[in-house]
């Protein structure tokens, strides 16, 4: 009996291993290609015949590009910093303002509350491209094109974040609020000391979603960024075009360096992430 159960467990493992391998094959190719010299990129094998680990040094501007003999004109470490910096600001601002707005929608009774909330919700359904060009014109009018602020500000406000946090906050029993009120706390104190700590799983979830989403954002930086010192990673990856076409091996090396810290982050935050989704649930 026990043997049968253990066998079933073992088979489950095998199934998962098979699926996992299928999922990561493109990454295996990516890692292999990041070590290939340019001429081998289009060959069949996953691994290079003449590995060129300098690709990583080239991307980090510590070794010259074999085609031009010079250091790359591009600044990969700066791009990394920019992506992290912008995503960090956007996430912090978004989580904070979303929580504050969610508190207003979930905890404070005021007239017209639900109508305004529905207005918020409906904006989530607008195709981003509808807002893209007018947003751009607004940035031009404010003189914020090609600046950090221009990249951070429009992304710092999100109806989705408000929605998510509101759902979380609705799940927190009112008894906590009432207890604090009886102790003479005002809304700000309740918000900071009671609600936020209890909504922490939701905040962490929102943090991770927002951070990842902004880290990967492509179109807005594409339109807004002109100077190299402002480039974020996705935009920067596009500029790995040598004179003879895109240098896939360098792009893959850059992507590997891009991903590895994220993986570590994910593994570290695993528990919180899943817990956050569990506690918040998706109540309608």
């Amino acid at each position: 009996m026990l043997i049968w159960q253990e066998l079933k467990t073992f088979l489950r493992h095998l199934l998962m291993i098979a699926v996992a391998i299928l999922m990561i094959v493109p990454f295996l190719w990516m890692i292999g290609t990041s070590f290939k010299p340019h001429s081998e990129v289009e060959r069949e094998s996953l691994l290079p015949e003449q590995p060129q680990p300098q690709n990583y040094s080239i991307v980090l501007r510590r070794a010259p590009d074999p085609y031009t003999g010079k250091l790359l004109d591009l600044n990969f470490p700066k791009w990394y910093f920019n992506s992290l910096f912008i995503a960090a600001w956007v996430t912090a601002l978004q989580v904070l303002t979303s929580c504050m707005a969610a508190y207003a929608f979930a905890r404070i009774e005021w007239k017209g509350r639900d109508k305004v909330f529905f207005l918020y919700l409906s904006t989530m359904m607008i195709p981003g491209l509808v807002l893209m060009l007018p947003n751009y014109q607004i940035m031009v009018a404010l003189g914020l094109v090609n600046t950090y602020i221009g990249l951070i500000l429009p992304a710092a406000f999100s109806a989705f974040g408000t929605f998510l946090m509101r759902q979380f906050m609705l799940g927190i029993p009112k008894s906590y609020d009432e207890a604090a009120e009886m102790d003479g706390a005002n809304h700000l104190q309740i918000f900071l000391d009671v609600i936020l700590p209890l909504a922490r799983p939701g905040m962490i979830t929102l943090t991770i979603f927002t951070f990842l989403g902004n880290f990967q954002s492509f179109f807005w930086p594409l339109v807004m960024i002109k100077d190299d010192y402002l480039r974020t990673l996705p935009i920067g990856l596009l500029s790995f075009t040598g004179q003879y076409g895109p240098q896939t091996e360098l792009i893959m090396a850059a992507t590997v360096m891009n991903i590895v810290p994220l993986i570590i982050l994910f593994i570290a935050m695993q528990k919180q992430l899943v817990a956050g989704i569990q506690l918040g649930g998706v109540k309608g």
Binding site: E6, L46, A104, P127, L129, H187
Partner: protein, 365 residues
């Protein structure tokens, strides 16, 4: 404290809390929304030779008369066919991951991990020496995955499944462009060993629905695997282990186990357990995922079209969002682009409302 004072006081506080988010919302969502709606009724263009004039519904009329718009709508809808597959796949993975991965005899775990690692290492070495470095690499990876899996169970599998969701958009797309290359790409290298003519992927206008009698300007290449399928497969790969799976995992953990116990007493088969307990209990999650899927799907396909195919071949991967982009940025015709965007918005709104009504009714059962 009487109620109205309290209410007014509350209102002020609420507005203060709401203020930052609301200001941002007005400036970056509401104002552009109104601008673009207004713009869709005018000749708004980036060309100075075109004066800004109110032209009423002309843009919309031209849009509905544009044959190609329906073609792009078809493309958009087609790409959304991947959604049920992604959702079903995510659900399957979540259910599988939710099972028992701990061996009762705890010492099996490290032993199995070690065994797997050793077998894989030997196999890899053997393959390397006999001249198949790629297979050796794969075997080594297999060993690593197995070892990690046996040691850490579902946590490590979850990580592996979530990996595709991680890669930055542009890089994933470049990666898959290379994989789909009909001559040198990894996919056709593998398929080429089993098939005479591996599919054309990004170069082909064939599609799985290609046997349908489509209008001529849809550029239908017939039945087969073409650019659309390529994009869908890439999308499924990225989505199947992503946020949807995590949401389902959370949902699964919320199902009270006594429901299952009751079912066991009644002698239910695993399929019955799933269909009659698990799936209905997950209904709210499915509902949420479907709605977000429709909203996202109708707006999607832009990055893939922009980076992988430029809307081709022969316009078969041009989605409505890419069409909006080309109208606005390449033809500089912002008024028309805004009109298309608004039609898309209305479509999304209508489908979401319908979805909501249908879903709410199903959930009530």
């Amino acid at each position: 404290m009487n109620t109205s004072t309290r209410e007014r006081g509350n209102r002020r506080v609420a507005l203060l809390f709401l203020a930052p988010n609301f200001l941002g919302f007005c400036l970056f969502a509401l104002v552009p929304l109104v601008l673009s709606l207004a713009g869709s009724f005018t000749t708004w263009s980036l060309r100075p030779s075109v004066p800004l004039q109110f032209i009423g519904l002309t843009n919309y009329i031209q849009l509905f008369q544009d044959k190609n718009f329906y073609f792009y709508l078809y493309n958009t809808g087609y790409l959304m066919l991947a959604m049920p597959v992604s959702i079903a796949g995510a659900l399957t993975l979540a259910v599988l991951l939710n099972q028992q991965f701990q061996f009762k005899r705890a010492r099996y775990q490290p032993r199995l991990a070690l065994t797997a690692a050793v077998i894989a290492a030997l196999g890899a070495a053997g393959l390397w020496l006999t001249g198949s470095p790629s297979l050796a690499y794969l075997t080594a990876a297999l060993g690593l995955v197995s070892a990690l899996g046996f040691l850490f169970g579902s946590v490590s599998y979850r990580t592996f499944f979530y990996l595709p969701h991680f890669t930055a958009g542009a890089a994933t797309i470049i990666l898959w462009s290379q994989l789909y290359n009909p001559n040198f790409g990894l996919i056709n290298q593998v398929l080429g060993r089993f098939m005479e003519q591996p599919p054309g992927w990004l170069t082909s206008t064939k599609s799985l629905l290609g046997f349908l009698p489509l209008p001529a300007h849809f550029n239908n290449g017939g039945f087969g695997l073409g650019a659309r399928e390529a994009i869908m497969i890439m999308g499924i790969w990225g989505a199947i282990g992503g946020n949807t799976m995590l949401l389902y995992l959370a949902g699964l953990s919320n199902i009270p186990p006594d429901l299952y116990e009751a079912a066991d007493i009644d002698g239910a088969s695993p399929w019955q357990r799933f269909w009659h307990i698990t799936f209905p209990q997950l209904a709210p999650t499915t509902f949420f995922v479907c709605i977000m899927g429709v909203i996202g799907g109708l707006q999607g396909g832009f990055e893939q079209a922009r980076l992988m195919t430029e809307g081709g071949p022969a316009g078969t991967t041009t989605t409505v969002s890419y069409y909006i982009y080309t109208q606005g940025f390449e033809r500089l015709d912002l008024g028309y682009g805004s009109a298309v965007a608004w039609v898309l918005f209305v479509l999304i709104l209508a489908l979401t409302l319908a979805n909501w009504k249908y879903g709410s009714r199903r959930m009530a059962d």
